[in-house]
Symmetry: C2
Subunit: 424 residues, 2 copies
């Protein structure tokens, strides 16, 4: 007990020390202009390319250790870097450098009743904590987005990618130092101690926001324990509702894409709602089953195709991230919207219909971060939404929602310009 | 221990029951249009006027009980309603009804790279918890702002105002029921048990945001214990920096207003930073002392006027809310900005100067929710900023900052309109 308390105190002190350093660097960084920030990121990309051999050699250590520890083939694939992937990481940093700087953007202007001028102007949030798992590219992606928006980053990657993360972080330090910027703007937590993650989660006032990047277990732990605001989504239980007035070919195309294009992403459809009045329900289910998708449905879905097994109650609240789909037959938009209200994770839902009134109602009444008409839920992504990148998708109610990129990494301040105004 | 756990369980169950009712009412309320919401608030104001005698009689009970419990004159004054104040409460509800409806406003539109149309549209946040102290008018003000923006409110007022709050809440229920809207959209916690407040604070997923309204003790407790996002400010340690190039008459006028107009509001100046090169420092300090302001300063401020006593280190971090002022003499903008960075609570800071370059630098580098040039910090208020009202002033980094009114009580969703787009 005393031992645990001591350890916890040491972790708090470590996080406080890193956060203080990060906040000081951020204050310098916050006053950097658009060009300076973009140039610094290009210098980082250059440093990363120059240290390519060191990064790949560090990554090989992680992959060997992962193989010895029996990591699954999927995890090993996520962990592995090669020259092409490393070039992709460097190019992604340059892409973030090319995005418009959100800092200094004027949100709106007005004149106060007393006559002074008001404007709201975007500023960086401050110090962002990023807690992630086995993909080493997150080190670069997340740090680049934080830096581009004038923030500092405190990174804590998974132990599987320890050497890779250190090598990529070293390239950031090298690139920043070449441009005369404080390397404290990007720090990597120097310990894999899990208690240090807890210390980050409770560092309210030191860390301004935490973004968890990884599986549901990680996100759930961060959401449950954090005293620092968290930007995240826990589940992506995305629904597609095929309305009676859907174009059959379009419905077929969208359903197949939403479920089968990539089954492991958070925007993949997990529940299909078929309107009882839609004439082509049988052919849609047949196409899914033929494509190797396991179907779990209610009694009416089972009656349509013998390959549909009985869904258990928990299926309606399950994010499969696999070639498995829950299927319910619903009686019109009321029923579909009610099903979504009960089971949605607030991520992304879609309707397929040719009826504009029904579509408008679905867009209005479904309360998810993203609501789509006649499009695949697999578009739920910052890049696909034209944001140029994304730090993640948020399903909370406050701050930023849906795909979050640079704007979501800013806050704002009010500027008031008077000529001697007093309230009197 | 078991008893405490049982009690806590009962409070959690109560809050869950109220929140479930509130969320169901909010889903109905969210689809109400602008006119319906405005009309409902006007019906509430009418019901409040009609029940004026009952509200005043309930209030008299609270005032009598407060007097018996030995409440201070200031607290008794805050608690007391009369016909004029009650009319003010009803008029404030009608004022909120007249404000533009933020729900449905389009934040921006774009076209996704794949060709589908995107827009971000404002929607209500959901269920807002309001935890407040002795002013019964908060019951009406906060509930009206929540309703106008399509949210439901769960109110927990102070025990001193129990009968007043119940009577005002009854007028809301009456007004809403006349317009056919679910009265669950505004609920008052039926117990004064402090554990019930703790249950509200930990009701993440049931309550979407909590706004504490009251003294520093209340706000500090809410910020420390809440697992629900909190919109608040803890302190208003507002600084005014009188630069060397300030117009002397303007500096005098702004300083006197910022400190002495009303000393008890969060926008009142608590620290005056006098530039060593400003020629009229002595007359400004003399005017403050002559007006009855206690001055606590550093050695150089003490050297200017004998009535300045020595400031203790904690004075620089103290919100006096009284006719007391910390005074430091600084050497130019660097020194002033550094002092503010060290001691500011992130609320409101002002500079008085005729030098536009220095002003621009101050506005850019000071990282508070509100930064002012040539104006009194006492303008830090939603009404004075033209928002028509305010639910509070926020100094956090996420969501809304500075004075928060209807817009800050909304979030947004992304709407995507395609023509069969798949990611492919």
């Amino acid at each position: 007990m005393d031992h645990a308390r001591d350890m916890s105190g040491a972790d708090d002190a470590l996080v406080a020390e890193l956060a203080t350093k990060g906040r000081a660097a951020q204050r310098v960084w916050a006053s950097a202009g658009d060009t300076q920030k973009a140039d610094a990121l290009r210098a980082v990309a250059k440093a990363l390319r120059e240290s390519g051999a060191a990064v790949l050699s560090a990554n090989a250590k992680d992959v060997t250790a992962g193989r010895e520890r029996g990591l699954s083939a999927a995890l090993l694939d996520r962990l592995t870097l090669d020259e092409a992937r490393l070039e992709g990481v460097a190019a992604a940093i340059e892409n973030v450098a090319s995005l418009p700087d959100p800092v200094g953007q004027v949100i709106d202007t007005s004149t106060a009743p007393a006559g002074f001028a008001l404007e709201r102007r975007r500023i960086p949030i401050g110090l962002i904590g990023i807690i992630y798992e086995s993909r080493p590219n997150v080190t670069a992606d997340a740090a680049a987005l934080c830096l581009r928006s004038g923030n500092a980053a405190l990174l804590r990657g998974g132990s599987e990618a320890l050497h890779s993360n250190r090598a990529i972080h070293a390239a950031f330090v090298e690139g920043l130092s070449r441009t005369g910027l404080p390397a404290g703007a990007v720090q990597l937590l120097p310990t894999q101690d899990r208690e240090a993650v807890s210390a980050m989660l409770r560092a309210a006032g030191l860390i301004d926001m935490i973004v968890p990047r990884g599986g549901k277990g990680l996100v759930a732990r961060v959401q449950a324990d954090a005293r620092v605001p968290v930007l995240a989504h826990l589940d992506g239980i995305c629904h597609t509702y095929v309305h009676a007035a859907a174009d059959p070919a379009m419905a077929h195309r969208i359903v197949m894409d939403a479920k089968m294009r990539r089954t492991g992403i958070c925007g993949a459809m997990e529940t299909l709602l078929l309107d009882a009045s839609f004439p082509q329900n049988a052919s849609i289910l047949a196409a899914l089953a033929d494509a190797g998708c396991e179907l779990r449905g209610d009694a009416r879905a089972q009656a349509i195709d013998a390959r549909v097994s009985a869904a258990a109650p928990e299926d309606w609240d399950t994010e499969y991230l696999d070639a498995v789909l829950s299927v319910a037959v619903v009686d019109g938009p009321d029923d579909a919207i009610a099903h979504i209200a009960r089971h949605s994770s607030g991520h992304t839902e879609a309707i397929v219909t040719g009826d504009e009134d029904v579509a408008a109602r679905f867009l209005r009444e479904v309360d998810s971060a993203i609501v789509m008409h006649n499009a695949s839920t697999q578009f739920a992504d910052g890049g696909e939404f034209g944001l140029g990148a994304e730090i993640g998708i948020a399903t909370g109610r406050l701050h930023a929602r849906g795909p979050v990129a640079l704007e979501g990494l800013t806050t704002y301040k009010w500027l008031a310009r008077g000529d001697g105004n007093i309230r009197g």
